[in-house]
């Protein structure tokens, strides 16, 4: 089996992204978290550099690259500002929905704006009654005179308050077996009957808005139906795997790397008993654990994405990577916090934010429980 290696252009890409992140994102990372403020100007810059439409073909204004490059971008971003990475990650869900399932008209209408980050996108599936239980959604849509009328309330939707192009799922009928059937709709902010609702005050991944979307007799044209009637569930699950979980794995990986690097820096600088902390074996074990966690998460993340890109289903591998990288991020953050002693719980240091961000990733894109069910399901079949 050949070694897992990035191409030269992927390494160049990583370097270019890192340079941007260190100059534009790192200096404001703390403030983004404290103020819970989405840095729209930075997102615009990211859009101009191709981050928002990384896997969109160049004909639509994207960078024409793939999921591996996307993961590199998310990892680099999450290394300093996981909340902002989350906003970009979620944006990609909407972008892929239109790219993969849109008609030519829909692609021509929406892709150029979302690929360049001019408009922000999001995916609205979750509801109070249907998060892990996706089929428990109650939002519904029915035809009325050449339009669709959608009613419902979505919650825990990232980019809720700043997405202009929302992909919303709703029940539109029943399938052959009498089970609820869902469809997806492109709902633009400002459309009649659609509005963002309350915003949540999250523990972590702050700087990306997460909240409700309210659909109150929201009227949209036939042209808003995305991917054909009744395909909503299949589309959503496909997006969760291809874009959602892979993105969360990359974000978890970025957080692990942040913990690793901050831990190493602290261990080298802090002097205790007359020597750098790094000389103590107990500390070395912690550093080693962080490193091992990082290596494993890195391989699982990029390997599972590579598998998916090459055509394999890779559902279990992706779920495993998401599970491992996000849970690993929580472990790495706690470990690094312990390593730093008193400094670990001073907010001037970022490790508290890493822990909060890591904890919050667990329930994004499917909880750890769901990930295990997916892995078990495939393993036992």
């Amino acid at each position: 089996m050949p070694e897992l290696k990035f191409t030269q252009s992927q390494e160049m890409l990583r370097k270019a992204v890192r340079e941007f992140v260190e100059k534009e994102v790192k200096p404001i990372a703390h403030r983004i978290d404290v103020e819970n403020r989405f840095p729209a100007d930075v997102f615009q810059k990211m859009g101009q550099l191709g981050f928002a439409g990384v896997f969109v073909p160049q004909t639509y204004g994207g960078a024409g690259l793939g999921q591996t490059e996307r993961a590199i971008i998310l990892e680099e971003l999450a290394r300093h500002a996981a909340g902002l990475a989350m906003a970009l990650m979620t944006h990609h869900l909407g972008v892929e929905a239109i790219l993969a399932y849109g008609t030519d008209e829909q692609k021509a209408k929406y892709l150029p704006d979302v690929a360049t980050g001019k408009k922000i996108s999001g995916l609205a599936v979750t509801e109070p009654t249907g998060g892990s239980d996706v089929a428990g959604q109650l939002a519904n849509a029915s035809r009325d005179n050449g339009h669709w009328v959608i009613n419902g309330r979505k919650c825990f939707i990232t980019n809720s308050s700043n997405a202009e192009v929302n992909i919303v799922t709703a029940r539109t009928g029943e399938d052959a077996k009498g089970r609820p059937a869902f469809s997806a709709f492109i709902v633009e902010s400002g459309m009649e009957g659609f509005s963002p609702g309350r915003e949540e005050d999250k523990l972590g991944l702050r700087g990306s808005s997460t909240g409700d979307l309210l659909l109150n007799n929201c009227r949209v044209g036939e042209g808003s139906l995305l991917g054909g009637e009744g395909n909503g569930m299949r589309m959503a699950l496909g997006l969760f795997t291809k874009i959602g979980r892979t993105g969360m794995a990359a974000i978890g990986l970025g957080i692990i790397r942040a913990c690793l690097e901050e831990g190493v820096k602290f261990a080298k600088e802090r002097v205790i008993y007359g020597k750098p902390l790094a000389k103590l074996q107990a500390i070395q074990f912690e550093i080693a654990q962080n490193r091992i966690e990082y290596e494993a998460a890195r391989l699982m993340t990029y390997h599972s994405i590579g598998l998916k890109e090459s055509g394999s289903g890779a559902d279990a591998e992706i779920a495993a990577a998401k599970y491992f990288a996000t849970e690993g991020a929580v472990r790495a953050a706690k470990r690094t916090m312990d390593l730093m002693g008193g400094y670990g719980v001073i907010n001037e240091y970022p490790v508290g934010r890493y822990l909060r961000d890591a904890l919050t990733t667990i329930s994004c894109g499917g909880t750890s429980h769901i990930m295990q069910i997916i892995v078990a399901g495939q393993t036992l079949n």
Binding site: A16, F20, L65
Partner: protein, 268 residues
């Protein structure tokens, strides 16, 4: 005025953030540069940015020229990703040990080989050596007008140039016309970030490598043989002083400082 043929002189230098790791080999007295990754000289990025802005305005091509080992292609890719159209590496063992004038001879030969040019841009100085000689000397060797320390530059129709060069506590406003060689200071602009699209496009852009023979440069003109300057002893400057730690409370420390100031007669 038509399109511009732009040349940017670039130099890969050891990453400035690693300069604390510089060591001198105690046996040979030579510089040890092990493990220091190379980056594009920071000032050259500003020169490249200036060239890209001119290309966007007038059309044309931007060629990077660098006297460097062949392995420099990796560093030069960064410039291609920013938007340069091609890179020419002037690489030959015979060039090693060149002083600034010999380097300028090699660079001038490279520029001539590319073809007629309108403007040659360079970062004023490089982070490792920092002589700031190359823009003037390349200008002299090419027989064109040249300026160093440029902080602002405007190219008008017909190739007229108005530039500002930084001097201590002020500037000089100067007029000239293309073709010219211009050395720029970092304050002239803010280099653009590299986009993903730029990274992809860079993969297909040509990187040429030319040796002494390709350039028509003979041994007497370049390298150690072609250099008037010779390096001698290397050393690490020692600025150490007694380093007496003032102990005690903040109040006691402050009183001691004031006593020192009084003793030096600066308390006024």
């Amino acid at each position: 005025m038509g399109e511009l043929n732009l040349v940017v002189l670039v130099k890969p230098v050891p990453d400035p953030s690693c300069y604390d790791r510089i060591e001198i080999d105690p046996a040979t007295g030579a510089l040890l540069r092990q493990g220091m990754p190379a980056v594009l000289n920071p000032a050259d990025k500003h020169a490249l940015e200036e060239a890209l802005v001119l290309k966007e305005r007038f059309g044309g091509r931007v060629a990077m020229v660098s006297m460097a080992p062949g392995s420099a292609s990796e560093t030069l890719m960064e410039g291609l990703a920013m938007g340069a159209d091609e890179a020419c590496i002037l690489s030959d063992r015979a060039f090693a040990g060149s002083d600034s004038l010999a380097t300028s001879r090699v660079l001038s030969a490279g520029i001539r080989k590319i073809g007629p040019f309108d403007l040659v841009l360079a970062g004023n100085e490089s982070a490792d050596g920092g002589t700031a000689h190359v823009p003037s000397q390349v200008g002299e060797l090419l027989g064109v007008a040249h300026l160093t320390n440029v902080i602002r530059m405007e190219v008008g129709p017909g190739g007229s140039v108005t530039a500002r060069t930084r001097i201590e506590n002020g500037y000089i406003e100067v007029r000239g016309s293309l073709p010219m060689v211009v050395g720029v200071r970092r304050e002239i602009n803010t280099p653009r970030y590299t986009s993903l699209m730029g990274v992809m496009a860079a993969q297909d852009k040509p990187i040429r490598v030319w040796g002494a023979e390709d350039l028509g440069v003979n041994a007497a003109e370049a390298g150690m043989e072609g250099s008037s300057m010779r390096p001698g002893r290397l050393s690490r400057p020692d600025y150490r002083r007694k380093g007496e730690i003032l102990k005690g409370s903040h109040e006691e420390t402050v009183r001691r400082i004031v006593a020192i100031l009084r003793a030096e007669g600066v308390l006024g």
